[in-house]
C-alpha cells in the first residue's frame, strides 16, 4: 500500500516533501482556514493552498495569552503554531467569517503579527444563498483574486481558473470513488485511513494528489476488505476534525467508520464545480450551494437530511456527532440533528471534544457503551 503509506505520512505532519519542493522552486504557499475559501483561485495563480492545521499541538501556552479558555482549542492551537513560527513557510493566510473563533484569529493576527504574512485576507461569505448573494459572492471572490494578483505579482486568467477547477473536480471525483468503496460490506480502508487520505490532500498540489489517489484506488482494489467490525459508524459535526488518531480510538473498539459529513471529509468534495461562462460565478455558486456548515442559516433541515442520506447510502448503524467544545454553530445544530435522528430511528452519540486528542478514557467508555447498544 505505497500510496496509502505516503498519504498517511503526509497527513501526520504539517509540512511534507511536496511543500518543501514547492518552496524550493520559489513558489508561494498560502494557508487557508475553512473550506469556504475557493482554493482554485490560489491554485490558478500557481500558489499552493494549504489548509491550516496544528497537528500534534499539545498545549497552547503562548496562544492563551491572547485567546481565552472560552475559545475553541482548534483556533488556540493554530495561534500557538503561528506564535511558534510553525507557519513561517506560509506566504499568506486566508480566512472567512466562518465562525466567531476563526474571524477573531484573523483579527488577532492583524494586530500582533501584521507583517508575518504578505497576504492576510478575510473573504466575507454570505450566510445564505440566493441569486443576489451568489452574484455578490462572485464579486467578493473577484476582489480576493485581485488581492492575490497584486500581492504576489501574478495574473489569474479565466483559462487558469478553468484549469484549476478541472483539476479540483478530478480530485472530487476520485474522492467520491474512494468513498464509494466504503459503501460495501467489507470496506477496504478504515475511517482513520480515509481521514488521513483526505487530510493529506489539503497540503499537496492537487495534480500530485490526484496521481496518488489514482494509485491508491488501484491498490485498494487488491486489498482485502475489513470484516471484523462490530458496527458501521458515521462521523458528523464540527470542523477541526483532522486527527486520524481520534477516529482510531473508536475503531480500536470495533466501530468501523464508513463515512462522514465533515468539512474534512465528504462535504469537501461531494459536489463538482459546474463550469459556466464565468469561472468565478461557477465557484461562487458551487461553494455556497455545497452541503453546508451551520454558519449557513437556511439549511438546518438539509444538514440533517444529508446525514440521513449518508446513513442510508453507507449502511450506517450509528452516528457519532462530535463538536469541538465552544463550537456554537454545531452545538446549536444538535437540537435539530438529535430530533431528526430520533425520528428516523438512527442511533446517535453526541460528544464534545478538544482539538488535540485527550480524555481518551472517557471517549473509549462512551463509544464502547454506544457500540454495545448498536452492534450487529
Amino acid at each position: 500500500m505505497r500510496a496509502l503509506d505516503e498519504l498517511t505520512n503526509i497527513a501526520s505532519n504539517l509540512v511534507n516533501p511536496a511543500v518543501e519542493e514547492w518552496k524550493q522552486q520559489g513558489k508561494k504557499v498560502v494557508g487557508f482556514m475553512c473550506t469556504y475559501v475557493p482554493e482554485e483561485i490560489l491554485y490558478a495563480a500557481n500558489i499552493l493552498p494549504v489548509r491550516l492545521r496544528a497537528p500534534n499541538c499539545v498545549e497552547t501556552t503562548s496562544a492563551d495569552v491572547y485567546l481565552s479558555h472560552l475559545n475553541c482549542t482548534f483556533i488556540r492551537s493554530c495561534l500557538e503554531f503561528t506564535l511558534e513560527d510553525k507557519y513561517k513557510f506560509l506566504d499568506g493566510l486566508v480566512f472567512t467569517n466562518s465562525c466567531d473563533h476563526v474571524r477573531r484569529l484573523y483579527d488577532i493576527l492583524r494586530e500582533i503579527r501584521p507583517t508575518d504574512f504578505p497576504l492576510l485576507y478575510l473573504i466575507s461569505v454570505p450566510h445564505k444563498v440566493d441569486d443576489d448573494l451568489i452574484a455578490w459572492f462572485r464579486d467578493e471572490l473577484d476582489r480576493f483574486k485581485e488581492s492575490v494578483e497584486k500581492t504576489f505579482g501574478v495574473e489569474i486568467t479565466d483559462a487558469s481558473l478553468r484549469n484549476a477547477i478541472d483539476v479540483y473536480n478530478e480530485t472530487r471525483s476520485l474522492l467520491r470513488q474512494l468513498y464509494d468503496l466504503r459503501k460495501g460490506k467489507n470496506p477496504p480502508l478504515t475511517g482513520a485511513e480515509a481521514l488521513s487520505v483526505i487530510v493529506a490532500g489539503f497540503s499537496l498540489p492537487k495534480n500530485k494528489y490526484n496521481e496518488l489517489l489514482r494509485q491508491l484506488l488501484a491498490e485498494l482494489g487488491e486489498r482485502e476488505g475489513i470484516s471484523d467490525y462490530r458496527a458501521r459508524l458515521m462521523i458528523a459535526g464540527s470542523g477541526g476534525c483532522d486527527n486520524p488518531a481520534y477516529l482510531q480510538v473508536m475503531e480500536d473498539l470495533g466501530g468501523l467508520i464508513v463515512t462522514d459529513s465533515l468539512c474534512f471529509g465528504s462535504r469537501y468534495f461531494c459536489e463538482p464545480v459546474e463550469i459556466g461562462d464565468d469561472p468565478l460565478l461557477s465557484l461562487a455558486k458551487a461553494y455556497l450551494n455545497r452541503p453546508s456548515c451551520p454558519r449557513m442559516v437556511d439549511n438546518a433541515g438539509e444538514r440533517s437530511d444529508y446525514i440521513r442520506q449518508m446513513v442510508n447510502d453507507f449502511n450506517v448503524d450509528g452516528v457519532v456527532f462530535q463538536r469541538i467544545r465552544y463550537c456554537d454553530l454545531w452545538g446549536g445544530q444538535l437540537l435539530h440533528v438529535e430530533k431528526e435522528m430520533k425520528e428516523s430511528s438512527i442511533p446517535m452519540l453526541s460528544i464534545d471534544r478538544e482539538y488535540s486528542l485527550g480524555a481518551v478514557g472517557q471517549l473509549r467508555t462512551r463509544v464502547q457503551a454506544f457500540l454495545e447498544r448498536i452492534e450487529r
Binding site: 495569552v65 491572547y66 485567546l67 481565552s68 472560552l70 475559545n71 475553541c72 483556533i75 467569517n97 465562525c99 466567531d100 473563533h101 474571524r103 477573531r104 484569529l105 483579527d107 488577532i108 494586530e111 500582533i112 478575510l122 466575507s124 454570505p126 450566510h127 445564505k128 440566493d130 443576489d132 448573494l133 455578490w136 451551520p294 454558519r295 442559516v297 437556511d298 438546518a300 433541515g301 463538536r323 467544545r325 465552544y326 456554537d328 454553530l329 454545531w330 452545538g331 446549536g332 445544530q333 444538535l334 437540537l335 435539530h336 438529535e338 430530533k339 464534545d352
Partner: protein, 426 residues
C-alpha cells in the same frame, strides 16, 4: 371545574413589570418618577405582546438588530427575544429554562438563546408567525434561531450582514430588508403601506434625534442619569423604535436631564460621584442592583455602556421605500452590539475608546459573558489598548449575564472590591 391557565412567559413578565411599576411609584415616585417610566412603557408593550395572538395580530420574534419599525408599520407585533429573555433573567425565571435547554444543546450556547429554547421546549411561550434575526452579532444566535425555526416549522428570515463596514454594506443590507418586506407581505397577506411606514419612521427619527441630543447631556459631570437607566434603556430603544410612546419617553427624559444639568445636579450629588464607569460590553441582567451597590459603596456611577451607545444618524430620506430601507440598513449595521461584536475587533475598540473619552470615565468594566466567544477572544487586546492609550484600567469579569450560577452577585462584588482596592485606593 377550574382549568389551570396555560403558562405563558409573556404574562409572567407582564405581571412582574406591573408589580414593579407600582412598587417603584410607591417607593420612589416623588424622588425618581422617571424610574417607573421605563417599566410603565414595558408593561404596555408586554400587554400588547401577550394579547396579540388573541386579537389575531401576527407576531414576529425578532432579535436586537432587527429594525422593529418595519413590523410596527405592517401591524405585526415584534416580540424582541433578547428583551424577553433578559426580563426573565431579571425576575429569576431564566434558570429553569436554561437547565431545560441544556438537556438538548451544549452548556456553552448563550444563556440568552438557551432561555428561549427552554421556554419553547416547555411550551411556555406562544410560537410566532415568523422569526427574524440579523446575521450578527454572534454564532450562538446564528446557530440557534434558524434551528428553532426549523424545529417548530416557523417561517424564518435572516438579515445577512457583511463582516466589514464598507460602502457595500448598506446596499447589501437594504437588499436584505427588501426581501424581508416581501416575506412579511406574503405572511400577512397585506402590502406594506408606505404612508404608514413613513409615519412610523417619523416617530423613529424623532426619538432618535432626542437620543442624540440627550446623549450629550448624559456626558455631564455629575452624570444626570442613574446607572440603572444607563444600562437598561437600550432595550427600550430596540423594542419601541417607531412608536409615539418612545418619543414621549425621550421628550420627558430629555427635559428632566436638561433641568438637572442646567442646575449642575447629577443622579448622585457631585461630591459623591467618585468614579465614572463605562461598561464596554453588557451588564448582568440577573441582578441589576449591583449597579446601585456600586453607586452606594464606591460612588461609582455607570455612566455608559456598549449597548446604550447610539451614535448613528436618523434616517434622512423618508420619501420612498428604497431610501427608507437604505437608511434603516445604514442604521442596522451601526447598531450597538451588532457593530462591536459582529465585525472586526477595531469596531469594539473604537466604540469603547470613544465612550470612555466622551463620558470622561476613569475605569472600564468588561462583564464577560461566558458565551460571547468573539469578545473573549480579543479582550486582552482591548484591555491593553485602553490601558496603553487612555491610561484606563479594565475590570474583566467572567460571568453569565443571565445565569447567576456562573458568578453570583457576591462574587462580582468581591471582584469590584479588589479592583477598587488595587486601582483607586487612597
Amino acid at each position: 371545574m377550574v382549568t389551570e391557565e396555560k403558562k405563558n412567559v409573556l404574562k409572567e413578565v407582564l405581571d412582574y413589570l406591573s408589580f414593579a411599576t407600582d412598587m417603584i411609584v410607591e417607593r420612589f415616585g416623588e424622588k425618581h418618577p422617571e424610574w417607573a417610566w421605563i417599566y410603565a412603557l414595558l408593561v404596555d408593550y408586554y400587554e400588547e405582546a401577550y394579547k396579540a395572538k388573541d386579537t389575531g395580530k401576527p407576531v414576529a420574534w425578532i432579535n436586537f438588530g432587527v429594525p422593529p419599525e418595519l413590523f410596527y408599520a405592517m401591524d405585526i407585533m415584534p416580540v424582541v427575544m433578547d428583551a424577553l429573555t433578559g426580563s426573565l433573567a431579571s425576575i429569576g425565571s431564566a434558570v429553569k429554562y436554561i437547565d431545560l435547554a441544556e438537556e438538548r444543546v451544549p452548556d456553552y450556547i448563550c444563556a440568552n438563546n438557551k432561555t428561549l429554547i427552554g421556554a419553547a421546549l416547555a411550551g411556555d411561550v406562544p410560537l410566532p408567525d415568523i422569526l427574524v434575526q440579523p446575521a450578527h452579532p454572534c454564532d450562538s444566535n446564528l446557530a440557534t434561531y434558524p434551528v428553532i425555526a426549523e424545529y417548530y416549522n416557523i417561517p424564518y428570515f435572516c438579515i445577512d450582514m457583511l463582516y466589514f463596514k464598507t460602502e457595500r454594506s448598506a446596499p447589501y443590507v437594504a437588499s436584505e430588508l427588501r426581501k424581508l418586506v416581501s416575506l412579511l407581505e406574503e405572511i400577512t397577506g397585506k402590502r406594506l403601506d408606505l404612508d404608514k411606514l413613513k409615519q412610523v419612521m417619523q416617530y423613529s427619527n424623532q426619538a432618535h434625534e432626542l437620543i442624540l441630543k440627550h446623549e450629550v447631556l448624559r456626558q455631564a459631570v455629575p452624570c444626570p442619569y442613574s446607572s440603572l437607566e444607563a444600562i437598561s434603556e437600550y432595550g427600550l430603544v430596540l423594542t419601541l423604535a417607531g412608536t409615539p410612546q418612545l418619543v414621549d419617553y425621550f421628550e420627558r427624559r430629555y427635559a428632566l436631564s436638561k433641568d438637572k444639568v442646567s442646575r449642575g445636579e447629577g443622579h448622585l450629588p457631585k461630591e459623591r460621584e467618585k468614579h465614572r464607569l463605562v461598561w464596554i460590553y453588557g451588564a448582568p441582567t440577573f441582578d441589576m442592583t449591583l449597579l446601585m451597590w456600586l453607586e452606594k459603596e464606591y460612588g461609582a456611577v455607570s455612566v455608559a455602556n456598549m449597548n446604550n451607545n447610539f451614535t448613528m444618524q436618523p434616517v434622512e430620506d423618508l420619501s420612498n421605500l428604497d431610501s427608507i430601507l437604505m437608511g434603516l440598513a445604514e442604521k442596522v449595521t451601526l447598531l450597538p452590539m451588532t457593530r462591536e461584536c459582529g465585525g472586526p475587533w477595531e469596531n469594539w475598540l473604537d466604540a469603547s475608546m470613544d465612550l470612555i473619552k466622551r463620558y470622561k470615565a476613569d475605569a472600564a468594566v468588561f462583564a464577560g459573558h461566558v458565551a460571547c466567544k468573539s469578545n473573549w477572544a480579543v479582550i486582552k487586546l482591548i484591555k491593553d489598548k485602553l490601558h496603553d492609550e487612555l491610561g484606563i484600567p479594565t475590570l474583566v469579569l467572567e460571568m453569565d449575564l443571565f445565569d447567576p450560577r456562573v458568578a453570583s452577585t457576591d462574587t462580582l462584588k468581591a471582584q469590584f472590591d479588589n479592583f477598587f482596592n488595587v486601582h483607586f485606593k487612597g
